[in-house]
């Protein structure tokens, strides 16, 4: 064949195009048929150091017991839901993933998760509030894996220096809001200007934790129908005025508002604040503190309240191995596996049978009973509100409006009116 130079170069051009496009194969979907790289199941999660160790150990045990391969994919928390969303939309989602109770409603209400009605039959074994948290319209779409409610951690030496000698040692004796204000004022008086009495953990996606104040004041953010906004109320005003007071009286650092990029426990560890609200999952991190610290209960108003921390495990609707995925979920919430996971990570179990069991917590077991008891202040009506399908939008509204109220002087009335509008839009009221 007589090939001219132009033909040769033209052919080379076509080949180079093919090679370039072949280079894009990295964007193609992973192996189908269950999981990546020929695995039978893919499990995507974020994990702290201690969580990753125990996740790996449990996955190994499941693989051995069932003779299957599970691909454990640990990703940073900051990106997991962006990835999962994109994967669900492109049909490349993992078989199983970890999700917080607030986000679960977003996926379950849009038919992205596997209906577990016929696959998981031990719903009654869970604490009712958490079993309710994984359901949408009465259908279970996941298993409640653990919880990690917030309580108060405090710097013992700073309390002593301020003359605070009595700290509540039971839920019943938890400080009232007025008593708590007294403690904050006492601390303010004894601390230098660059140190603060308190820091609350509503930063970096933690805005829904402000709702603990609303619930404690006897309020709700949606009515019983879970659609009609109810935040513009006396309880809403009381909760917002009380928390705005933290900033007005310099009881919390000015830069610890809702849009701050620093976590509350980091502020506590740096001793910029001598008291913080913190989930039990940060206990291993606080163990490195160079000072003595202890725990007590969140302040109460009309009632005690705390946040719905913790996560569920869910399987995706498009999984190629629904039975194996369900089997994996069942395995992860078996009493032995859950006890091992919670003990290793200082998190709280969701199985009723483990509530009264003293778990062998890896770090500071002495402080864990406070978290366990604080969890009992979470009521089913709180859970029902915190798991509505529009919760992600409610979280954004809380983030924007609370930040305006705390840092930009937006009035309580305006803030509640704006929140009410945003909640109405989120729920479709």
């Amino acid at each position: 064949m007589d090939l001219t130079r132009r033909q040769l170069l033209g052919t080379a051009g076509v080949f180079s195009a093919s090679a370039l496009l072949a280079g894009c194969a990295g964007f193609s979907r992973p192996d189908s048929g269950g999981g990546e790289g020929g695995a039978d199941l893919t499990f995507t999660t974020w994990a702290s150091e201690s969580e990753e160790v125990v996740f790996r150990s449990l996955v190994d045990r499941f693989q051995e017991a069932n003779g299957v391969t599970v691909n454990l994919n640990v990703v940073p928390y900051e990106q997991i839901f962006r990835n999962i969303d994109a994967q669900l939309q492109s049909g490349t989602a993992p078989d199983v993933f970890r999700v917080d109770y607030g986000n679960l409603g977003v996926y379950s209400s849009q038919e992205q998760l596997l209906d577990l009605s016929d696959l998981v039959d031990n719903g009654n074994d869970f604490i009712p509030a958490f079993w309710q948290a994984v359901q949408f319209d009465g259908t279970p779409f996941g298993v409640p894996h653990q919880t990690d409610v917030s309580a108060i951690v405090y710097n013992v030496a700073a309390f002593q220096a301020a003359g605070i000698t009595s700290v509540p040692d039971s839920l019943e004796s938890a400080w009232t809001w007025d008593e708590f204000s007294g403690v904050l004022a006492q601390l303010r008086g004894s601390l230098p200007p660059e140190q603060y009495p308190f820091v609350y953990n509503w930063q970096l996606g933690g805005a829904p934790r402000w709702l603990s104040f609303l619930f404690a004041a006897g309020g709700r953010f949606v009515e019983d129908d879970l659609v009609t906004p109810a935040i513009d109320s006396d309880a809403g005003r009381r909760a917002l005025d009380y928390t705005k007071g933290f900033f007005e009286q310099s009881w919390v650092p000015a830069n610890s508002a809702v849009k701050s990029s620093t976590y509350a426990d980091a502020v506590f560890l740096a001793e910029t604040a001598v008291m913080a609200s913190a989930g039990s999952f940060v206990v291993p991190g606080l163990d490195a503190a160079g000072f003595e610290w202890a725990t007590t209960y969140l302040p109460r108003d009309q009632r005690g309240a705390t946040d719905l921390g913790g996560n569920a495990l869910v399987a995706t609707a498009g999984t190629a191995n629904p039975d194996l995925a369900a089997e994996f979920l069942r395995f992860m919430v078996e009493q032995e596996a859950m006890a091992e996971f919670c003990a290793a990570t200082n998190e709280l179990p969701t199985l009723t049978s483990l509530v009264d069991t003293e778990l062998d917590y890896a770090v500071r077991p002495d402080v864990m009973p406070v978290f366990v008891q604080q969890a009992t202040t979470l009521e089913e009506s709180d859970v029902a509100q915190l798991t509505i399908p529009g919760m992600a939008s409610v979280t954004t509204a809380l983030q924007d409006q609370l930040d305006l109220a705390f840092t930009s002087g937006q009035s309580t009335e305006q803030t509640l009116a704006n929140l009410s509008d945003a909640i109405g839009q989120a729920t479709g009221a």
Partner: protein, 314 residues
């Protein structure tokens, strides 16, 4: 490119006087060869630029939330933009950010380039130090910014306190937070501006300065009447690049302030991100993206017109 094509066609043309039809076939073959060379880039541009842009336009016309395509709502998302106070504040912040960072980064870049172009001891070291932030990822630079501007534990407030001054509200005060992101942006961007200006300055003939000196021009007059006009092409290029960078700023603001306090540092891209990936309102976020695209296109069109006029006058 033109020279290459000509040199390739020469042997064929010289081989025989091609008949009329043969000439057409040769031209066709030449065109095919050209397209085959351009094909990889055309495919990539189509796949990664045009397809996403067209998709974004289509999504912006839908009430897309979460999963699925969403209902077609025409210009509903654009109408919503008009009454969205956060959108207008983000737009105003974007324009203000651009108006501050573009001239400042160019002026500082030019000043440093003139300095680094002169006889300065260890100028290689200084050049490296100034350019260094350019090679560090935006997120890492922003994290350094957090270390510097943290109100409680940041270096800057510690220094201010040490010298007896008042600590500033770099994170809880709107104006201060805005200033902090501007400062970090300048830190990153000045190096790039300096490099481009330095390249421009090195093309300026020393004889021109010598001649200006002979005419009695002082240092400022030399800068004003020789340096500044002769780095005009660099200025033009940098103006366009800086405006585009400023309109697309995201990483530094996202990491340092998250758009807060309130909406004080929210810009169009952070607001679009929040809508698209946090509240999952992809339709509305796509509309925001298209608005940003239109603003950039308008600016680019103005640049083209000015550039053509400039070429003609040159």
């Amino acid at each position: 490119m033109t020279a290459d094509t000509r040199s390739l066609s020469r042997p064929l043309a010289g081989r025989s006087p091609a008949p009329r039809t043969g000439g057409r076939s040769a031209r066709l073959q030449e065109a095919l060869a050209g397209y085959s060379f351009a094909a990889p880039n055309l495919v990539l541009i189509g796949l990664f630029l045009l397809y996403p842009v067209v998709s974004a336009v289509l999504i912006s016309l839908r009430d897309a939330r979460g999963f699925g395509d969403g209902d077609f709502i025409g210009l509903g998302n654009y109408a919503r933009l008009l009454s969205d106070a956060a959108f207008w504040q983000s737009t105003a912040n974007t324009v203000l950010f651009t108006a501050i960072t573009v001239p400042l980064s160019m002026a500082l870049g030019l000043g440093l380039a003139v300095l680094m172009n002169s006889v300065l001891p260890a100028r290689g070291l200084f050049r490296t130090i100034i350019v260094l932030p350019m090679v560090v990822s935006g997120v890492a630079t922003a994290l350094v910014g957090v270390l510097i501007f943290d109100e409680g534990t940041g270096i800057l407030n510690k220094l201010l306190r040490a010298i007896g001054g008042p600590a500033l509200s770099w994170q809880s005060g709107g104006a201060e937070a805005f200033a902090s992101v501007v400062i970090i942006t300048l830190w990153v961007r000045v190096g790039f501006n300096m490099v481009i200006y330095l390249a421009g300055l090195q093309g300026v003939s020393p004889e021109l300065y010598e001649s200006a000196r002979l005419d009695g021009a002082n240092a400022w007059q030399q800068f004003r009447n020789v340096t500044l006009p002769l780095v005009g092409p660099s200025t033009f290029f940098l103006l366009v690049m800086n405006v585009i960078y400023s309109f697309q700023v995201f990483d530094i603001i996202f990491v340092m302030t998250g758009g807060g306090p309130g909406y004080s540092t929210s810009v169009l891209v952070t607001y679009a991100y929040q809508n698209g990936f946090v509240t999952r309102e992809q339709g509305y976020a796509a509309a925001l993206g298209i608005v940003l695209l239109i603003i950039t296109l308008v600016f680019t069109a103005l640049y083209w017109r000015a550039s053509r006029a400039r070429d003609l006058t040159d």
